[in-house]
Symmetry: C2
Subunit: 440 residues, 2 copies
């Protein structure tokens, strides 16, 4: 589906095969690239690959390649190198970059400060448009993350406004920057969480957000390309939690097995404790089962249908919350929708369940003289459990969020477990009413 190079394919090919290669082959094939290709290739690698390659290279080449990186990338790379070796790589940087990189390394990786680049285009408010453009041209010669937006700072680095290059070009050359800049803008604090940051980008369709400290002094910018990774990472965490384990934090094939067992066994064990309640619940109905063994045959069908309906509902609501489509105050709207959807789907399954019992009886005579009543029991239970599954699955994320937990913890196994326990009670209660005097 994609054309790659127009001239030379070795570069794109190496990219494709990279993950499969042994370190030694990576090193050899990287060193075989032309310098220009190698530079592009190196910049395009992720920070864990960059640090793997860097640590394997001789010191002279290490210096060359680490200096190719922008300070925010260099900080990421150094942070993914083992702690005792970090000093060595910091030493390889030139002095001003070293200062920038050290400052960036003080921030957590998942906050605005840890994502930002300290290299952005800046001008003073009292410059004329012409002076600003000349000054920018000088800055562009050095490396700035984006030349499209220009930030207006006073002498103490306070952020006063922003102006686009496009605006500067189209303004009268003698006008002051002060008069053409926009002061109405979105900023983020240096300790803002990356998830909130990505929501800001999305809501306001932005390309870059300036990061300021608590006194309004500009510290750097976060650009949209850093946010792609954040969006993907947050979705991965949510998906993994919704599947009923902790977020792995590392790629599936790379995470240590012991670590993976830890992250999965914990939740599986909690869910198991929940499921143990089904054994207790069923204990109460042991006599009924003894009288009408046939009831047990439909139990997995009924509780699982409830669990499936609940999985759908919780998944849809959790995702809608993550996208800010649904907020806490919408709980009643959501509940209304789930009551309608759940009862519609419940009626469909209930009718099919009833028919299944009747047809089987007429074909195989398996269910005895009370098959009509058995069919009604199964049908009614399905209506009830699918409705209950939909409603409880959709409300659980609200309860969790309200209580300060991550709504994504309303995982499909969690909801299924909840519905299983109540499903047992619901089914046998309906049975004891419908079948009283007949089978029970």
């Amino acid at each position: 589906m994609t054309d790659t190079a127009l001239k030379d394919l070795s570069y794109a090919k190496l990219h494709d095969e990279w993950d499969e290669l042994e370190l030694e082959d990576k090193l050899r094939r990287f060193q075989e690239l032309t310098h220009a290709d190698a530079e592009e290739f190196f910049r395009e690698l992720g920070s864990s690959d960059e640090s793997e390659l860097l640590t394997a290279l001789p010191t002279r080449e290490q210096r060359l390649w680490i200096r190719v990186l922008d300070p925010d990338d260099a900080a990421d790379v150094i942070q993914s190198i083992e702690e005792e070796e970090r000093g060595h790589f910091l030493e390889l940087l030139d002095e001003s970059t070293r200062t920038e990189v050290s400052a960036l390394m003080a921030y957590a990786e998942d906050e605005a400060g840890g994502l930002m680049s300290p290299r952005y285009a800046r001008v003073r408010p009292d410059m004329t448009v012409d002076e600003a453009l000349a000054y920018l041209r000088k800055q562009a010669l050095e490396t700035v993350e984006t030349v499209y937006l220009v930030y207006v700072l006073d002498g103490q680095q306070h952020l006063l406004g922003v102006v686009s290059v496009r605006r500067l070009f189209s303004s009268p050359p003698t006008k002051k920057v002060n008069d053409v800049m926009r002061t109405n803008m979105i900023t983020a604090n240096e300790d803002a969480d990356q998830e909130d940051l990505s929501k800001l980008f999305k809501e306001h369709n932005l390309l870059a957000i300036p990061v300021v400290d608590s006194e309004g002094r500009m510290k750097g910018i976060v650009t949209i390309d850093d946010i792609v990774d954040v969006v993907e990472e947050e979705a991965t965490e949510d998906i993994q939690k919704m599947g009923g384990s902790e977020a792995l934090g590392d790629p599936y094939l790379k995470i240590e097995l012991s670590e993976m067992i830890k992250k999965r066994a914990g939740w599986l064990f909690v869910l198991f404790l929940g499921e143990l309640l089904t054994a207790n619940a069923m204990g109460y109905f042991e006599d009924q089962i003894a009288k009408a063994v046939i009831l047990a045959l439909f139990l997995p069908l009924i509780i699982s249908s409830g669990g499936n309906a609940g999985s759908q509902a919780s998944t849809l609501v959790v995702r809608a919350m993550a996208l800010d489509e649904v907020r806490l105050r919408d709980w009643w709207k959501v509940m209304q929708r789930e009551i309608i959807v759940g009862s519609s789907m419940g009626v469909i399954l209930g009718i099919v369940g009833y028919i299944r019992v009747i047809v089987w009886e007429s074909l195989f005579h398996t269910y005895g003289p009370h098959s009509q009543l058995l069919g009604v029991t199964v049908g009614l239970s399905l209506v009830g459990i699918v409705l209950w599954g939909s409603v409880s699955g959709s409300i659980l994320p609200f309860v969790l969020k309200r209580a300060g937990f991550d709504p994504a913890s309303a995982s499909t196994p969690f909801v299924a477990t909840l519905v299983d326990v109540t499903g047992v009670v619901l089914y046998f209660t309906i049975a004891s009413v419908v079948l009283k005097g007949a089978m029970l």
Copy 2:
């Protein structure tokens, strides 16, 4: 966590409250903004909000606001307006933009052509660096999506290479563009799928990808900011499928109820048909249940634990596939990992299950003389079902992908249903061996 405006808050506030407002209030408050704020505000809206607002405005204002948009955004907006009114809005554009927008509207929204902007910076290969910079300055006065990367085209619009503005600034002014451009680059065909496109951005850490037709003629560029939405959209689709429904395609609170029922009932019904097999499977074991009703009490516990383990495994593998961390050829590596993880977790749950039976018997004397054997049956079944759940949950996405289906269809309810049916058989088979001559 975020500071907003430095001067004026009305703009940010309107943004926040927007979704809650009636159309009439949206209109009034939008018209109350200063022109500069209104322009920013309008550009930041999503295309469905933009089209809602546009259609409600008087024609004179419609012309003003639709012309504020870049052609790719204008195309999106016009495509979300009802078909019979689209011609009216196309007429409001100036002629050259109308041609661009009409061309863009011919592409599907989820392919490269539908995402691209036709406005990019371009130069000829035989220009000198100085000529190229002067020419660019002229282009920047008009609106181009990005001025950071400059594409080098021949007279027939064939894409020959790319050069960064940074590179141009730092090259000798008399050198030819031909000699400073890079020819080794990633391009996408106009009909490339948006998911593949977002993978290209991610793998190669790119800010923009040029889109070409089958003869290598440049059609436009897709920039990284368009990809954020794609990544989020793809994750949403996957999550919704993994929760056991079809992808909704619209926000949870906005989709028609009938549509939502259709998208959920289909899968729920298929799963229900699968679950019906549990009733058949249990039919075979009816005599056993009649002899040892106590066996039925642990059935939900056992099949659900298998389902939970399977949900974890399938979720992790499906996500890893979406991120390209796991490919088809890795199936054996994945299976090995799941055998280790599944049996470890199975042993943990098995031991706890055994202890549960023994402790309950010694406290309440509920399970009778054969409680030891019952405990062994429950314990062994748990080991088997958790192992089986993990392995089948992790392999199912490979099977689906191999067969040409979306691996995300290996939803947690799907896996749970699969494991339920086999779990019934496994449990009663183990029981008939272990309890033979005792309870059975």
